[in-house]
């Protein structure tokens, strides 16, 4: 594996920051550390087995979900409901709360834990109403200057007849467009499955993080396998081919940092997983403090417009 372009960019930024470090305080040295950590991680390429293990962990039924993190990290949580048109989608959570001393909005897909809740949450697969609720709350946050944290955890948008009739594709596009217009700091973190369009709909953020054992992909391994080899059982082979793990996403510049999990995975210790996520979110939001809204927006768009490999 050749040194990636993203790694080159990181090294260059590291070099620049090191020259500045005599001037900078704690915040700058924190960023130096983070960059060094990223570069180190890019070296650690995962084996096929490790990748598959991450797919399993990302989908682990005991893995903390959006509301588990909210319960541990957000004070004065007030959930908002409804798309103001059609319904209230249980697969998408949106609301306001206090985090690190200020009001933020949190938006994220929500999987269900028991059978009843799984149906209500549609396994974390939102309908257009869910994306429209997300947009509504993000616009509310934007008006009031509240930073936005999105937690991505979905196999994908719900592939239903009614979902299509109500404009699933357009809702996913509109949600991204809404995020591209925001003037408040935004941080997305993939906390489980970052499944395709259903995930990116709420992940066009200033910074994109991924938990250590989360996955982020254009298609599920099973979906990929059933197209390529006409056999969903070849999912492991497919996952190895497109590597949905965090290190690979970091290497490609798709994400900005990897959030550590408790040893063995987030499902083992929800409290510690939340603490680690909370630290990462606080630090990342801190980096965005003080940047004017239109500059945030400019950089956010530029960040995504850089992605791709061509000659």
């Amino acid at each position: 594996m050749p040194q990636s372009e993203h790694e080159l960019r990181l090294r260059e930024r590291l070099g620049r920051l090191k020259n500045l470090s005599l001037l900078g305080g704690a915040k700058l040295s924190g960023e130096l550390e983070r960059l060094q950590r990223q570069i180190d991680r890019i070296g650690e390429e995962a084996t096929d087995e490790e990748i598959w293990r991450k797919v399993e962990l990302a989908r682990h039924p005991e893995r903390p979900y959006t509301l588990d993190y909210i319960a541990r990290l957000v004070e004065d949580w007030f959930e908002l409901h409804g798309d103001r048109a059609l319904g209230d989608d249980g697969a998408m959570i949106a609301g306001l709360g206090k985090f690190a001393g200020r009001t933020i909005a949190v938006v994220g897909q929500q999987k269900g834990r028991d059978i009843h809740e799984r149906q209500k949450r549609r396994f974390g697969m939102p309908n257009p109403e869910g994306y429209r609720k997300a947009m509504h709350v993000m616009e509310l946050a934007d008006r009031h200057g509240f930073p936005i944290v999105t937690l991505v955890d979905t196999p994908g948008a719900y592939p239903g007849v009614v979902a299509e009739q109500h404009g699933q594709g357009a809702a996913i596009a509109a949600s991204q467009a809404t995020m591209a217009r925001l003037t408040v700091p935004t941080v997305a973190c993939v906390i489980g499955e970052g499944g395709s369009g259903g995930a990116i709909a709420i992940a066009l953020a200033d910074r994109v993080l991924m938990q250590e054992n989360a996955i982020y992909s254009v298609i599920s391994p099973e979906g990929c396998a059933s197209i390529l080899w006409r056999d969903a059982g070849q999912a492991k082979k497919a996952a190895a081919a497109f590597r949905p793990d965090a290190i690979h996403c970091l290497e490609l510049g798709v994400i900005d940092d990897v959030v550590p999990e408790p040893k063995g995975g987030a499902q083992i210790d929800h409290d510690m997983a939340a603490r680690l996520l909370g630290e990462a979110l606080r630090d990342t939001l801190g980096e965005l403090d003080g940047i004017p809204g239109d500059e945030l927006r400019r950089r956010r768009r530029a960040r995504f417009r850089r992605l791709g490999v061509y000659a």
């Binding site: 994908g156 299509e164 992909s217 949905p244 417009r305 000659a311």
Partner: protein
């Protein structure tokens, strides 16, 4: 939980091909190549719209001699060293040989009835019109060129979705093209989106539905998830016109269905309305 949501096409054909590509799958009329070409690949018997390649599409819309292609040389790389039944690089080379195109989108400046515009036209024959880094980059450049030259952008899409062989970078073409549309929008220029059969998955879920005006060709499939996937997951019987342009009109998703013979005059009118420069 096996599911596909950005439907991804790896073949080169829209579906099981008809017995002969010039036979109308709807009414079985048969045409010679030159007949079809003259009729813009529309069946004169039943109105069925055959797939239309990017270059003839551009020729059918732009004033003669007005089209100036941009970024023709952009080629995909193979960031994942992707190998399924065959290496991605081999698929790319084959698609290029077959279509004469470097990737699934052609962009450039053009004039329609004397009014300047940018065009971004997809070609389904190139790997199912799938969107990888090159399509994303070309579309983004088309947005910037439209903003710089002060002209609207007309996109004509035909795509199975994101290009799986580019992995997560293919998914990133969704936010990339969305960001480009937003930059175009901030410049005050219009995006007119024409969705031809099929416009599905990641292209539907990004720039194609963000136009100021949304048009579709008759009977074009415009669903985010493919009918097969929806059927498998929901076990519901799908409506006959599932995801089709007609359903999308009924549900308020698009402005109009425009048969191909009227597309040029419709776009010309929209360029006048959006004050495209002469």
């Amino acid at each position: 939980m096996a599911k596909i949501d950005v439907s991804v096409e790896t073949g080169d054909q829209p579906a099981p091909p008809p017995s002969h590509p010039n036979t109308c799958p709807s009414c079985h009329s048969h045409y010679r190549d030159d007949e079809l070409e003259r009729e813009l690949w529309v069946c004169t018997q039943c109105g069925h719209h055959f797939p239309m390649r990017a270059r003839p599409r551009i020729a059918s819309l732009a004033d003669p001699g007005s089209f100036v292609e941009e970024a023709a040389d952009l080629h995909s790389e193979d960031p994942l060293h992707f190998f399924d039944l065959r290496p991605y690089t081999e698929r790319l080379a084959e698609a290029e040989m077959k279509t004469g195109l470097a990737d699934a989108m052609v962009i450039g400046r053009a004039a329609i009835d004397g009014r300047n515009t940018m065009l971004a036209v997809m070609d389904f024959a190139f790997m199912g019109g799938s969107m990888g880094s090159v399509v994303g980059e070309k579309f983004s450049r088309a947005c910037d060129l439209a903003a710089e030259t002060g002209t609207p952008l007309i996109s004509v899409t035909s795509s199975g979705g994101a290009r799986m062989q580019e992995g997560i970078l293919a998914l990133m073409q969704l936010p990339k093209t969305v960001a480009a549309v937003e930059d175009l929008r901030d410049s005050g220029q219009a995006l007119v989106s024409v969705m031809a059969h099929p416009t599905t998955g990641g292209v539907l879920a990004s720039f194609a539905t963000l136009g100021d005006v949304l048009l579709a060709e008759p009977n074009a499939l415009m669903s985010f998830a493919g009918p097969r996937v929806v059927q498998e997951i929901t076990r519901e019987k799908l409506p006959d016109d599932f995801g089709r342009a007609e359903q999308n009109v009924r549900y308020g998703q698009i402005d109009a269905i425009v048969p191909r013979p009227q597309l040029r005059s419709t776009l010309s009118r929209l360029l006048r309305l959006f004050d495209a420069p002469e």
